[in-house]
């Protein structure tokens, strides 16, 4: 186990900037998730940590020591790949033992570790099989096993669940959480799936276009997104964002958009700009039946997800999404009354949170 430091790492591929001065610190035993849309540089960062790609600038530190000069084999990291990358010509046992064999560990020790790992993952009965005789979920376990058996300083996981079907993905996700609690390893995990990131990560790093937008706990990222990208990327359905102007009246600050206005609180007194974006999550808007002090909106569509409903409605020409309980019923075209919780507003100026 080890801590990981990433210091001002940059990487270009031709004219494309894959990573731009990325800084990140991961503590010993921490589960850190790199989250972002495809092409944001998260996999590149993982491969740089593994030593499979060399960065143009910056440094990777393991336990505060630079490892940039080390080849992948000497970095003592284990990696799980998206398509598992099991060696097709070896049995499961040989796949598990390969890394240990390459590190010159004694045969009896290898056997002991393989048995331990196999029982930890419940794959004892698969040891003699070849990868092509395994199901997707079994392959995924073997790929995990191949990393676990090494007991490396650092686990690197590159979208390990994305090739599994939805139901299996949830099971394996839970299993991963349990595993992490058991082995307490330092994990760097790449995904584009925000649910994976939120449920697994002690720390979530939101990336886009080679830059880190926010590094925080899942809760903080959800409740205090640092900019409009994070705000709209995290949360499903996405946060409602409205553009508008600030109007300073006597003791009040009023947000004025095309179709409605809101009283704002919690704005620092020295804030001088006049154009802002205001965000509100669907669950922070309430549908009420007494039309007093409420916005009037027209229902356009309803998404029923079973446990709750999301109403997509027009507020003038502005579209917004509101959460409703599953008991309530709405019809398209119906007029509803909405109250926005002013304490739950997110206010952004030039894309950044204020």
């Amino acid at each position: 186990m080890a801590s990981l430091g990433i210091k001002r790492i940059s990487k270009r591929f031709g004219d494309v900037v894959a990573l731009s001065k990325v800084d990140l610190d991961i503590n010993e035993g921490e589960f850190c998730v790199l989250l972002g849309p495809s092409g944001c540089g998260k996999s590149t960062l993982l491969q740089i940590v593994a030593g499979l790609i060399t960065q143009d600038e910056g440094s990777v530190l393991v336990n505060n020591k630079p490892v940039d000069h080390l080849s992948p084999r000497d970095r003592d990291v284990a990696m799980v790949f998206q398509n598992y990358a099991l060696y097709p010509h070896m049995t499961v046992a040989q796949n598990l033992g390969f890394g240990l064999r390459m590190h010159g560990i004694h045969k009896d020790m290898i056997l002991k570790r393989i048995t331990e790992t196999a029982s930890l993952l419940g794959i004892e009965n698969l040891l003699k099989r070849k990868p092509k005789e395994l199901s997707g979920g079994q392959r995924q376990r073997v790929a995990m096993g191949r990393a676990l058996v090494r007991r490396p300083k650092l686990f690197l996981l590159d979208e390990p669940l994305s090739n599994l079907d939805a139901r299996l993905r949830i099971n394996v996700r839970l299993e991963l959480m349990r595993l992490h609690q058991q082995i307490q390893g330092t994990i760097l995990y790449v995904t584009h799936d925000q649910i994976e990131a939120m449920t697994l990560g002690d720390k979530v790093v939101v990336m886009r276009e080679g830059r880190i937008h926010q590094t925080d706990t899942p809760g903080t990222i959800y409740d205090y997104p640092s900019d409009t990208f994070v705000a709209s990327f995290i949360g499903s359905p996405a946060m409602n964002l409205f553009k508008g102007n600030l109007i300073r009246a006597k003791k009040k600050l009023i947000f004025q958009s095309m179709d409605f206005s809101l009283n704002l609180q919690d704005i620092p007194p020295n804030f001088k700009d006049n154009t802002v974006e205001v965000g509100i999550r669907p669950e922070d808007i309430e549908v009420i039946h007494k039309p007093k002090n409420a916005f009037r909106a027209v229902v356009e569509m309803i998404s029923n997800v079973g446990s709750e409903k999301y109403i997509h409605a027009h507020l003038g020409s502005t579209m917004l999404t509101v959460r409703a309980t599953k008991e309530e019923t709405f019809k398209p075209g119906e007029t509803i009354h909405l109250v926005i919780n002013p304490r739950k507003l997110h206010i952004f100026c030039k894309g950044k949170r204020i």
Partner: protein, 275 residues
């Protein structure tokens, strides 16, 4: 129904025609190898053979084909080993180069393979004389490697390209060096390609006549095709012995190809289907 049947018959006839066309001469000399002197020279020629082993006995005892066979085995074996070793390294590098650069180099290699042998025979001979390698095994292995390498590099490069790079990355992270991942992960998975390249190389070197005749003037170093060609004396053509020697030369190749048939077929059709 009828149309289907006719189609099938035509198909079978085509196969039989092709097989007959290439197999008849082969069958003729196999039968000739087992004929006695009278049957060989009979006019009109006859198919019948008495299954006599005289020609074989004479080819071994009088013409000493065993040492030609040995020379052939040494030359073809070494050429194959060198070609496959170099072809593996070159093919691997080309497979992992950026596509467009790899393609340019592969095309260049292919262009080299297009030179007519006769145009390079003179320079080769002069070069070998300069090196003092005329009438040596390495003197023949060297041009064979040069001539078979392009095809081997092509086959292997195309094969290696099909192997996902993640497997290699995985091997590197698991503790292999580059060469280690090539040997332990990529090569085992490329076995059909290796076999194909090796057998094609071996067949070429085993059967090659022109350069062997040019470079090996010393009977002690001559290979089988040259040895057989030189069987005939001023006044005699020992057809029986020639047929017997040819049979002995061909048999190991056929055996080899039959043995590795399935692997070669997958090798030749590699890239068609991912698997």
């Amino acid at each position: 129904m009828m149309k289907k049947l006719v189609k099938k018959l035509l198909f079978v006839a085509g196969i039989l025609l092709a097989a007959g066309f290439s197999l008849t001469p082969f069958l003729w000399f196999v039968l000739s190898a087992f004929k006695n002197q009278a049957q060989i020279t009979a006019i009109p020629p006859q198919w019948l053979s008495s299954f006599s082993m005289d020609s074989f006995y004479s080819a071994v005892a009088r013409y000493g084909i065993i040492h030609y066979l040995l020379n052939s085995a040494i030359v073809a074996g070494s050429a194959t080993m060198v070609t496959i070793s170099l072809g593996t390294l070159a093919g691997y590098a080309l497979a992992r180069l950026p596509r467009q650069w790899g393609q340019i180099i592969l095309m260049g290699i292919l262009a080299c393979a297009m030179f007519p042998q006769i145009s390079i025979a003179g320079p080769i001979w002069r070069f070998l004389r300069f090196m003092g390698w005329l009438n040596t095994y390495q003197g023949l292995v060297l041009p064979y490697v040069a001539l078979t390498l392009p095809l081997a590099v092509w086959i292997l490069a195309l094969f290696f390209r099909e192997i996902p790079e993640e497997l290699e990355a995985s091997a590197l992270v698991d503790g292999c060096t580059r060469l280690g991942s090539l040997m332990r992960v990529i090569l085992p998975l490329s076995a059909p390609g290796l076999f194909t390249a090796a057998i094609l190389t071996f067949i070429y070197a085993w059967n090659e006549f022109f350069l062997a005749l040019l470079i090996m003037t010393d009977p002690a170093r001559q290979t089988m095709p040259v040895g057989i060609a030189l069987f005939q004396g001023e006044h005699t053509i020992p057809w029986g012995e020639i047929a017997a020697a040819s049979f002995i030369t061909t048999a190991p190749l056929i055996l080899m190809v039959l043995l590795f048939q399935r692997r070669i077929v997958t090798g030749l059709s590699a890239g068609a289907i991912k698997g």
